[in-house]
């Protein structure tokens, strides 16, 4: 990148800078006219100069000029206006000039602002573009949070500066020079004094500011390091807690903040010191004028008028001077920031822009063998991982790489995937160096999965399809305002040197997944998920999440059918007692009292969880049904029992998971509440306390908790209260609750709850598992399996995929690599988090899936256990960075070499 900020700005905004300068110069004309006008108004119509005779008129807007050689030329003789008319006309001109000046200012500021923002956008894009082209080794040394701060915060001030970069010095310099000249004209000696002081300012102040720049650079570096550390703490929070090092982190952060404070405080001290000196110098000049000028006047060598004029003119000098010096400070400041950032982003061996150029067309298959030629790989410390290895993988060949712990097979796989660059030698596809092939070829025709998986914080679907998003394949048509907006977006992108790819286009390369479009992609997705044994996990996720009814209309449409099918099935298998269904007129003994009262899913915060008992409408319903005091007594009983059982346990005791009524933290509060309320009549208890106690009863399930608190009478009262609740439901609560309706899908509830439409009995330990497999069967029978899988694919995987287990993440990575249907599939210990039995199964599935429909990709698999090698055409064994054996499974077994040793 361009190391000098000024040149960077000039290269990209030359035309605009010149244009805005012209506009500013043009704006000077009305600006100076508006200075002259008040004098005209006061002297003319107000004081009556030129209107001495009653009824006298003067010409207005008379245009005449004295041209050289030609003499006076009159273009327009003007309107003849009397005194009042002239006043009105001149005042209107004044108003007009005010408007014109304002508009100029508006235009100039907007233009400068836009110029700055465009440049900021360009710089940020350039930086990220470079990040995308950094060589792999760079990422081992840099903290992601530091890169993010550089792109986001450190270049931010540049935007504000760019508009003024060239304009400000020209303007302010001009103003200062004019004032200086004026003083000179009045009196040379006084002018010289002013000049000397200005020179001192110009020389001394920037010199003093040098220290400010040094401090500024330190400030930037320490702040960047701080954000790097903060990022590290967040990413490594597990390690911090596991090792009880949070106080070490606190100390480290405090020390860093202390350093930053010191730097910033030094900075302030210097800044105000410099400011003080600058102001002092500026004020020194009038002092000298008064003293020396006064002396001269007394001596009769200078007349008073001149002195006053000089002092008056000097008033205009410090302003521009100060601003000019400030501008210079800004310039140096942003220059430092810019250089700092550019230094960080200037690295050797940056990937050439052409390698990752956008390619819409399918690059065609890789038909040549993939080979390592004298390949050596080293780790960051320079230790050799792979030492001059030469080998070749032919198309359609399946190769197992077996490695001793120091073998280096992983390094070879990483080299094939371009993730690490060779120390010497090369990886080649046919005769071409792999690193010189466009990523459009290797990224589409090869795929790679390893044990080290990175997932983006998005849905499972997005992560799975990520490997297919190479290029915007469709052009989206926009209409109306969207079209204008789109045109504007693209136009602005180009002006800032950003690419004009449409992110809303369909980027998914369906063809490479063997599909023709969105409608049949799902088949391919399902096959790869089945192959890596991830479908079941995703189905489980689907069952546990609530479906987006705008997408998954089939589920909602067939819910009645589903529920009926489940009932029939349970009946057939003699499992009817496993699920107690919700029935509008009956109490469900396996559900909580709260669920029985509400008989619906809370869709908003008003009636959810703890807010329910405190809701005024709900409380009034309980009162009318005569339930409030009963439930209160029940709550008191539960509180007593819970406290008796749990009060002695430490708050982190695992038994608290069994206590549904309150959390461990709430126990002390309930203990005091119980003390206070004991023996107090219900009527004397405050509303808030009542709600606290009644809430406890809502979590009660008789068969589970077995306190013996639920009677038949209470159950029928609760069902009556339920009906009453819905009869008079106030309109503001209509959206807060979705009533259970056997014929309706409940959007706020999970898919599982919707299908069950009841509660699983608490007394059957294996009921949840059995019911789940029955539900899957039914969904499959009704053709809704795909729909549920689709619901599961909506699951957000969390930051870095942390909401999935490491096994699930690895499976997803393999599925993603498979989905692309590559010519070369490189798998680097891809399933290390799974047990051997599952690994074997996935291995078999993957080999089969990869060769579906007559495809025959080459597969290079770094296996975790030598026994897995049996499934491959060819086995290559690595030891100490060397290729030691190469052959088929049988020949290697016969050789009695390392492979056989590893197997035993």
């Amino acid at each position: 990148m361009e190391p000098s900020l000024a040149r960077y700005i000039w290269t990209h905004t030359r035309k605009q800078q010149i244009w805005i300068l012209m506009i500013v110069l043009l704006s000077m004309i009305p600006y100076f006219m508006s200075f002259d006008l008040p004098k005209l108004i006061v002297n003319g119509p107000i004081q009556g100069k030129g209107f001495e005779q009653p009824g006298a008129t003067l010409p207005f807007m008379k245009l005449h000029y004295n041209l050289p050689f030609i003499g006076e030329v009159q273009f327009f003789s003007g309107f003849q206006l009397d005194r009042k008319e002239t006043l009105l006309a001149l005042s209107l001109v004044f108003l007009l000039l005010v408007v014109i000046n304002g508009l100029f200012k508006l235009y100039i500021n907007t233009y400068k602002g836009r110029l700055g923002e465009r440049m900021l956008r360009r710089i940020r894009f350039d930086l990220i573009d470079r990040v995308l082209r950094f060589p792999p080794i760079y990422f081992k040394r840099v903290k992601s949070a530091e890169v993010a701060t550089m792109v986001k915060d450190e270049v931010e001030p540049l935007g504000g500066f760019i508009g003024d970069a060239f304009l400000q010095p020209v303007l302010l310099g001009g103003q200062a020079l004019t004032a200086m000249l004026f003083i000179m004209v009045q009196n040379v000696w006084l002018g010289m004094i002013a000049m000397v002081i200005v020179i001192i300012q110009i020389v001394l102040i920037p010199r003093m500011r040098r220290r400010l720049l040094v401090l500024g650079r330190q400030r930037q570096l320490t702040a960047r390091a701080l954000s790097g550390r903060v990022g590290e703490i967040v990413d490594g929070i597990g390690a911090v807690h596991v090792h009880d090092t949070s106080n070490y982190e606190r100390a480290d952060i405090a020390a860093r903040l202390g350093l930053i404070f010191k730097i910033r405080f030094d900075l302030y001290q210097w800044k105000f010191m410099v400011k003080f000196l600058n102001n002092f110098l500026a004020q020194l000049t009038p002092f000298l004028f008064y003293m020396i000028g006064g002396y001269l006047v007394i001596g009769g060598r200078l007349d008073v008028g001149q002195l006053v004029a000089v002092i008056g003119a000097y008033k205009d000098l410090p302003g521009p001077m100060k601003e000019l010096i400030d501008w210079d400070q800004d310039r140096q400041d942003v220059q430092v920031k810019y250089q700092q950032v550019v230094e960080q982003f200037t690295v050797e061996d940056i990937i050439a822009p052409g390698i990752a150029a956008l390619a819409i067309d399918d690059p065609g298959p890789m038909t040549k063998p993939l080979s390592a030629v004298g390949l050596s790989m080293a780790d960051d410390g320079g230790a050799m991982l792979l030492n001059r290895v030469s080998m070749q993988v032919k198309p359609a060949e399946t190769v197992a790489l077996v490695s001793t712990p120091t073998g280096g097979a992983e390094a070879l796989a990483e080299a094939f995937a371009r993730l690490n660059w060779p120390e010497s030698g090369k990886v080649a596809s046919g005769a071409d160096d792999l690193l010189e092939l466009p990523e459009a070829v290797t990224g589409r025709r090869m795929s790679y999965a390893s044990s080290d998986v990175f997932l983006f914080q998005a849905s499972l679907r997005d992560n799975l399809l990520y490997g297919l998003k190479h290029a915007p394949l469709t052009s989206v048509t926009y209409d109306g305002t969207a079209a204008d907006q789109q045109r504007w977006n693209m136009d602005e992108a180009r002006r800032s040197g950003n690419p004009d790819f449409d992110v809303h286009s369909d980027w998914i390369d369906y063809a490479s997944a063997g599909a023709t479009g969105p409608h049949d992609l799902f088949e391919a997705v399902r096959r790869v998920l089945d192959a890596v044994l991830l479908s079941r996990d995703i189905l489980d996720l689907g069952l546990r999440s609530s479906a987006d009814l705008t997408r998954h209309t089939k589920l909602a449409g067939r819910i009645v059918e589903l529920r009926a099918a489940l009932r029939t099935r349970l009946e057939q298998e003699g499992l009817r007692e496993l699920v107690v269904p919700f029935e509008p007129g009956a109490y469900n003994t396996e559900a909580t009292i709260g669920q029985n009262l509400l008989f619906g899913a809370a869709a908003g915060p008003e009636l959810a969880d703890k807010a329910l008992a405190a809701n005024p409408y709900f409380a009034s319903v309980l009162k009318q049904a005569g339930l409030d005091s009963t439930l209160y007594e029940m709550g008191m009983e539960i509180a007593e029992q819970a406290i008796e059982l749990f009060a002695d346990l430490p708050p982190d005791h695992q038994f608290f998971q069994q206590l549904a009524f309150m959390s461990a933290e709430e126990i002390p509060a309930y203990e005091t509440l119980l003390q206070r309320l004991k023996n107090r009549p219900y009527e004397a208890v405050s509303e808030a306390d009542r709600a606290m106690i009644i809430t406890l009863s809502f979590a009660y399930i008789e068969p589970r908790h077995r306190f013996g608190l639920l009677t038949d009478e209470l159950m029928s009262k609760i069902v009556a209260a339920r009906n009453r609740f819905y009869e008079n439901l106030p309109p503001e609560l209509h959206n807060a609750i979705e009533r259970y309706d056997p014929a309706k899908y409940i959007a706020a509830a999970t898919v599982m709850d919707n299908v069950l439409f009841g509660r699983v009995g608490n007394n059957h330990p294996d009921a949840p598992d059995r019911i789940r497999s029955i539900v899957y069967d039914i969904l499959d029978e009704l053709g809704l399996y795909a729909e549920l899988l689709d619901v599961g694919l909506d699951f957000n995987v969390g930051a870095g995929g942390r909401r999935l287990t490491s096994g699930q993440r690895q499976k997803l990575d393999v599925a993603r690599a498979l989905l692309k249907r590559p010519d070369f599939l490189i798998l680097n210990r891809p399933l290390s988090a799974l047990d051997q039995r599952i690994q074997d199964k996935v291995l078999r599935n993957v080999l089969e899936e990869a060769r579906r429909d007559g495809h025959s990709p080459a597969i290079v698999w770094v296996v975790t256990s030598p026994a897995m090698a049996m499934m491959f055409d060819r086995v290559i064994v690595f030891d100490s960075g060397q290729l030691v054996e190469d052959g088929t499974h049988e020949t290697l077994l016969a050789e009695n070499g390392i492979f056989k040793e590893l197997l035993s």
């Binding site: 059982l645 695992q654 077995r706 013996g708 007394n763 059957h764 330990p765």
Partner: protein, 148 residues
């Protein structure tokens, strides 16, 4: 059957007889009440041991796999505990337990059981006593068998 009745039942189990009722109530509360009908399996031989069971009502058979199919080796009556050995020594189930009639049981999860032992030494000592007792019986049986 209510929680307090279960406590009464637990007190009659020799293993828990020395433990104060309040702790037994906690044990009962944190355990799951499970129902089986005749023929249903509580756990199978070879399964991972995750819980112990106290029979509250009904009967269960202890079956051991053999070449000629499962052999019934013992019968469980109310107030007996089963499956506690396997959760103590982290081994898998040494026998299958199946309900011989409608059966009500209390399922005590492994981690809860171990936690209780850690917290209430009197319970641990009681368990030790029972185990030692069984061991001496087994030793006596072994001597009988050898000398026979």
């Amino acid at each position: 059957m209510l929680l307090k009745d279960e406590v009464g039942m637990l007190q009659r189990v020799p293993l828990f007889s020395g433990i104060e009722p309040a702790k037994l109530k906690l044990l009962a509360f944190t355990s799951d009440r499970v129902n089986y009908s005749a023929g249903q399996i509580l756990f199978r031989q070879g399964d991972e041991a995750d819980a112990a069971y106290v029979i509250l009502s009904g009967r269960a058979d202890i079956l051991v796999d053999s070449d000629s199919g499962p052999i019934k080796v013992a019968e469980l009556l109310p107030n007996s505990i089963v499956g506690e050995i396997a959760i103590l020594c982290n081994s898998s189930r040494t026998a299958t337990v199946s309900a011989a009639s409608d059966l009500e049981a209390l399922r005590i999860r492994k981690d809860h059981f171990l936690r209780l032992m850690k917290e209430f030494p009197e319970m641990t000592i009681e368990i030790l006593r029972v185990l030692a007792d069984r061991l001496s019986h087994t030793t006596a049986d072994l001597i009988d068998a050898r000398s026979a």
